[in-house]
Every structure is written in structure tokens, then in C-alpha cells.
């Protein structure tokens, strides 16, 4: 890879970081909004150039999985920067772009400890910038981060058995390559802590309580817009990044035949998350819908990763991408009557309705479940049916609520533009074979 500041991977981290520093000093809201938008668009452009710069060095790794999640994260960032453009001045904008930089770095990092530190930076900025009365969120998040860091160190200890001390025993690809020669006990111990830690950071059940009840998702929209600022709209991206780290950890531990099987714990966490989401969605207030949709989709993705196999993992990646891109629209839309329809449209996609992309992924996932673990088909199918029914009911409720009026025609077109873009993307991904082929290619690369 070339020098970090000329490579797209370096730019994708450096641009939002510079924006975070710069926006700290900008006081004019309109200017800050456009600057934030420009920085997020540049980040997305840098990430979009990643496919032409594949490769790995000691710190950064650009493979299919990383470039896919980086593009999804940056697109989510651009969407959130658009939705939150009114509050990009000063500390709000700085926090938003610092979190975006940390998330992109976590995706592109080839180093377990760098990934852990980047996730930590994102989570601590989110928590410290949020409501100071939050304590459950902080405690659970801190415990999860401690487990992530500890698991990464145990993996380093395991790597020392075959790799020279230094950066190699903490790099994702070197560990995955050397896995057959590493002590299986330490690999299992490390993976157990990575799993517990990243599942907590992702907010999977039974650790879903902290984002749900503490800061910042209690009345997500309120937190998002009035306390935490636009940075809270990046929470779904944090879930996506944590799930990516889980997938990478799974790859390492699956490399050794005698190490613990990563499948069953992921299946349990995933099924539990889907069940919890289905149960809570029935009576959820509008402010919680986005958080619960993330829980549902992240749970489905965890289930898919637990099943294994190329088509299940491809379906999981598709569901995860949807979980990053659409919930910000729901969170933003449910907070303002003028945007109820946008939120309802996004919610309809999240409800796994055809012909959007998540529908096909969910069908693939069910088919794979029936093929690989038939005894899990019934619980998953029932939970999924419950969740879909609840989401459809919530969508209908949102549509029948008295919607406010946007101030003008141009304003209403502008307000609907990002939603239309994302929905068109979901539709195109659902209809075109290219998206399925791309995700299949990514999943083939994994064991």
C-alpha cells in the first residue's frame, strides 16, 4: 500500500478526523452543515475507491469484507450527516465526525487491538457526548470494551505460539492464516471474550438493554436530536462494525479444528435477539422502533454467521448492511411528523417486505436453516413471523398518524431525497443479480 495519506484507506480515516477538528471551531450552523456533508461525501468517495486498492499491511487491510462494510458505513455516515445537518456546529459536529472516523478505522484495521481501540473511541465519544445521567449505558459499554480488549490480548498470546512477537500476532489476517498451528485453548478463550465483548458493543440480546434503556436509545429520536446530536445516528453503524469484528474473530477460531465451534453461541445470540426484537416490537413506542429494527437485523445476521456456509453469510451481510443504512431514517423520521412517511417507507423495508433486498436475504436464511439445522427452523420462523407482523403493524400506525406538512415543495423534495435514494438502492439490490453475486463473492472468501 502507498503512503497512508495518499491511499484511499488513509483518506477515509483522515478526512472525517480533520473534519472533527475543524468543525469544533465552526459556530455557524448552515456552514457547519455543508462542511459536514462535504466531509462525509469525501469519506464515501475514498471508500468507493477502495476496490481498486486491495491489499493488506501491518495496520490496514482492504479485502472484500472490509471494502463492503467501509462503503456501507460511509454511506450511512453521509445519510446521517444529511439528516443531522442542522446540528453540525461545534461539539456536535466534532463528535459526529470523530465517531465516523473511528468506525471507518475499525472496519479497515488489520489489527485486533487497533479495531478494539477504534470501537472504544467511537463508543466513549458517543457515551461521553451524550446524556451525563446515563450510567447503565456507560457501565455495560465499559464492561464490553474491557472484554474486547482482553480477548484481543488473549489472541495475541495465542499468536505468539507460531508468529514472531510484534505486530503479526495481533493482525487479523496473520492469525487467521496461522490458526491451525496455534493453541486451541487460548484461541477458544480469546474468541469467547471477543464474542461477549463485541456482542455487547453491537447490542445483541441479552445485552440489548444498555442501548435500549440507558442512553442513548431511550426515545432514540429525542436522544439523537436533542441530547447527543447527530452522532447518535451512527449507532447502527457501530453495530455493523462490531458484527464485522465478530465475523473476523469467527474466521480465526474456525481455522483450528480443535478450537471451540463458533457456530452455536452465534446461533443462540442471534435467535435470542430476533425473539427479543419480536417481543418488544409489538408494543414499542415510535422512538424505539429504530433501535429494535437494528436488534432484529443484527440478530438475523448473527444467526446467519452462526449457520455458516457461503449463502447464509451472504444473506447475513446483506441484512447487516440494511441494518446500518435504514434505521437512521426511521430514528430521524419518527421524531418529526413531516417525515412520518419517510420513516414508514424505511420501516417497510426493514419489515422484510418484498421486493426489497432484505426479503430475499431472509428467505435465503430460512432455506439455509431448514437445510442445515431443521430443528431451529420453527423457532426462527415463528420469531421472524412475529417480528414482521409487528413491524408491518407499526408501519401502518405510522402511516395513519396525522402527518405534518413540510414548509414548501422544494423543502419536501429535499427532505425525501435521501430516503428515496436508499429505498431505490434497497430495491435495486433486491432485484439485481449483481448485488447477490457480490455478496456471494465476499462470503466465498470466508471459511
Amino acid at each position: 500500500m502507498s503512503a497512508w495519506f495518499t491511499s484511499p484507506a488513509g483518506l477515509a480515516v483522515a478526512v472525517p478526523l480533520a473534519a472533527a477538528l475543524g468543525l469544533w471551531f465552526v459556530r455557524r450552523a448552515a456552514l457547519a452543515g455543508w462542511l459536514g456533508l462535504a466531509a462525509a461525501a469525501t469519506t464515501l468517495a475514498a471508500c468507493a475507491a477502495l476496490p481498486w486498492h486491495e491489499g493488506a499491511d501491518a495496520l490496514l487491510r482492504v479485502d472484500g469484507l472490509a471494502m463492503h462494510m467501509a462503503i456501507v458505513t460511509a454511506l450511512g455516515g453521509l445519510l446521517a450527516a444529511w439528516l443531522g445537518r442542522a446540528r453540525m456546529a461545534g461539539a456536535d459536529g466534532a463528535a459526529f465526525h470523530a465517531v465516523l472516523a473511528a468506525l471507518v478505522l475499525a472496519v479497515l484495521s488489520n489489527n485486533l487491538l487497533l479495531t478494539a481501540a477504534a470501537v472504544e473511541a467511537a463508543l466513549l465519544v458517543l457515551l461521553l457526548h451524550g446524556n451525563p445521567t446515563a450510567r447503565r449505558g456507560l457501565l455495560a459499554g465499559v464492561a464490553g470494551l474491557a472484554m474486547v480488549l482482553f480477548g484481543s490480548m488473549v489472541m495475541y498470546h495465542a499468536g505468539l505460539a507460531a508468529l514472531a512477537p510484534g505486530l503479526a500476532p495481533m493482525s487479523w489476517d496473520a492469525l487467521a492464516d496461522a490458526a491451525p498451528a496455534l493453541p486451541p485453548g487460548l484461541l477458544s478463550l480469546g474468541f469467547a471474550f471477543l464474542l461477549a465483548g463485541y456482542a455487547t458493543c453491537a447490542g445483541l440480546a441479552p445485552m440489548h438493554g444498555w442501548p435500549m434503556q440507558g442512553w442513548p436509545m431511550q426515545g432514540w429520536h429525542r436522544a439523537a436530536m436533542h441530547q447527543a446530536g447527530p452522532a447518535a445516528l451512527l449507532l447502527p453503524a457501530l453495530t455493523g462494525v462490531s458484527m464485522l469484528a465478530l465475523l473476523r474473530g469467527r474466521e480465526i477460531v474456525m481455522g483450528h479444528g480443535d478450537a471451540v465451534d463458533a457456530g452455536p453461541p452465534l446461533l443462540i445470540l442471534g435467535l435470542l435477539s430476533v425473539l427479543t426484537a419480536a417481543f418488544l416490537l409489538r408494543r414499542a413506542r415510535a422512538g424505539r422502533l429504530a433501535a429494535l429494527a437494528v436488534l432484529l437485523h443484527a440478530g438475523l445476521a448473527a444467526f446467519a454467521f452462526g449457520l455458516g456456509g457461503a449463502s447464509a453469510i451472504a444473506a447475513g451481510l446483506a441484512l447487516l448492511s440494511v441494518a446500518v443504512l435504514l434505521p437512521p431514517l426511521v430514528a430521524h423520521g419518527t421524531a418529526r411528523p413531516a417525515a412520518y412517511r419517510t420513516a414508514a417507507a424505511a420501516l417497510a423495508v426493514l419489515a422484510l417486505l418484498p421486493p426489497f433486498a432484505p426479503f430475499g436475504s431472509a428467505v435465503t436464511l430460512l432455506a439455509e436453516t431448514l437445510r442445515q439445522t431443521p430443528w431451529l427452523f420453527l423457532p426462527l420462523g415463528l420469531a421472524l413471523a412475529g417480528a414482521v407482523a409487528a413491524l408491518v403493524a407499526q408501519t401502518a400506525r405510522l402511516l395513519s398518524a396525522p402527518a405534518g406538512r413540510a414548509p414548501g415543495r422544494l423543502q419536501s423534495i429535499l427532505a425525501a431525497a435521501p430516503a428515496a435514494l436508499v429505498l431505490a438502492l434497497a430495491l435495486a439490490a433486491g432485484m439485481s443479480p449483481a448485488a447477490a453475486a457480490w455478496l456471494g463473492l465476499l462470503a466465498e472468501g470466508l471459511r
Binding site: 487491538l113 478494539a116 481501540a117 472504544e120 466513549l124 457515551l127 461521553l128 451525563p132 445521567t133 450510567r135 456507560l138 457501565l139 465499559v142 464492561a143 470494551l145 474491557a146 472484554m147 480488549l149 482482553f150 490480548m153 488473549v154 495475541y156 498470546h157 495465542a158 505468539l160 505460539a161 512477537p165 510484534g166 505486530l167 495481533m170 493453541p183 485453548g185 487460548l186 477458544s188 478463550l189
Partner: protein
């Protein structure tokens, strides 16, 4: 000759200091789990931070690593001085913890320490170096789960940070260990800072 004798003695001292400091840190973690009044609680966390710095210093000597010296200094500054002083500052504003049973948490703590030893030594031939950090990590999580008062929970986060720094010092040749230590210490500093911010804001409001 004298120099060789001197380094030999220091080697022996360092080898002995690491397990001793580890054992003392586990005992102090139990104190954090069970103590009810604020002053002993803060003292226990400060002493644990100092012991951590001692253990890292011994590792720095054994591994001849300058970076670990820096880690020891950082650990001492954060875990033994800054955070306990901050907690001491806000302690008068915080109530003592509510009275509760001691047997169940203590028994759970002993079980977790045993579990940590079994897991770490069973995982690999040289896994015993992870036994004390693992035990501290599990005890820290237990403190977070069992205690209901903010001060003790912040003490639990301190134990988590100590466990992480101890694990990192036990890993030979880790690149960028000072940065990793900063990441670990940021957890406890952020928790203590957040508690202080909240307490002081509440104190002013009254």
C-alpha cells in the same frame, strides 16, 4: 561481578514480585467487592493501582522494555493517583453503599477466581501468565454486576483497567503497548470523570 550479582538479585526480586503483586491485587478486588464505606473502598483501589504499577515495573525489568516503563508510569499516574484523588474529591457528596449480604458475592468471587485459574492453565502450557489478569477481569465484572452504588462500580471499572494492563504487560514484545495501555486506562478515567461530572453537577443543583 558485583553488577552481575546486582542484576541477578533484581531478576529474582522481579520474578517474585509479579505473583505476589497479583495475589494482593486479587485480595484487594475482594475488598472492592465487599467494602461498604467509601474511604476504604478508595484506598483499596489506590493500593491496587500502585501494585499494578509495581508488577508492570517488574515485567519491564525482566523484558528489558522501555515501553513497559512508560506503561508502569501511566498506570501509576492514572490508577493510583489521578482516579483515586478524583474519587476522594467527590466521595463526601456520595452516600455509603446500602447494607447487604456478603456471603453470596464472596462465594461467587472465589468461584470466579477458581474458574479463571482452571481456564487459563488449561488453555495452554504457558497460560498461567493469564490467570491473574483473567481472575481480575471476572472479579471486576462481578463488582459491576453486584454493587449498586456508583463509587464501588467505578472501583470495578478500575479493576477491569488493572486486569487489562496486567495482561498486556505479560505479553512479551507487544507492539505499541503504551497505546494499548492508554486505551485500557481510558475506560477507568472516562468512568470516573463521568461520575465526577454527574456528582458535581448534582451537588451544585442542590
Amino acid at each position: 561481578m558485583t553488577l552481575a550479582l546486582f542484576t541477578g538479585v533484581l531478576d529474582a526480586v522481579a520474578h517474585g514480585a509479579i505473583p505476589l503483586a497479583g495475589a494482593a491485587m486479587i485480595v484487594l478486588a475482594f475488598a472492592l467487592l465487599l467494602a461498604r464505606r467509601t474511604v476504604p473502598l478508595i484506598a483499596a483501589s489506590a493500593v491496587q493501582g500502585a501494585l499494578l504499577a509495581l508488577a508492570v515495573l517488574a515485567q519491564a525489568w525482566l523484558q528489558a522494555s522501555v515501553e513497559l516503563l512508560l506503561v508502569a508510569a501511566l498506570a501509576f499516574a492514572a490508577q493510583a493517583v489521578a482516579v483515586p484523588m478524583l474519587l476522594r474529591h467527590i466521595a463526601p457528596l456520595l452516600p455509603d453503599g446500602p447494607p447487604r449480604g456478603m456471603v453470596a458475592p464472596a462465594a461467587a468471587g472465589v468461584a470466579l477466581v477458581a474458574l479463571a485459574v482452571v481456564l487459563a492453565t488449561g488453555a495452554a502450557p504457558d497460560g498461567h501468565v493469564l490467570a491473574v489478569p483473567l481472575a481480575l477481569l471476572l472479579l471486576g465484572c462481578l463488582v459491576l454486576a453486584v454493587r449498586r452504588d456508583d463509587l464501588a462500580r467505578t472501583g470495578g471499572v478500575l479493576v477491569l483497567g488493572n486486569a487489562l494492563v496486567l495482561a498486556l504487560a505479560a505479553a512479551p514484545g507487544m507492539a505499541g503497548s503504551a497505546l494499548v495501555a492508554l486505551a485500557a486506562l481510558a475506560l477507568s478515567t472516562a468512568s470516573a470523570g463521568m461520575l465526577a461530572r454527574r456528582t458535581l453537577a448534582g451537588g451544585m443543583a442542590q
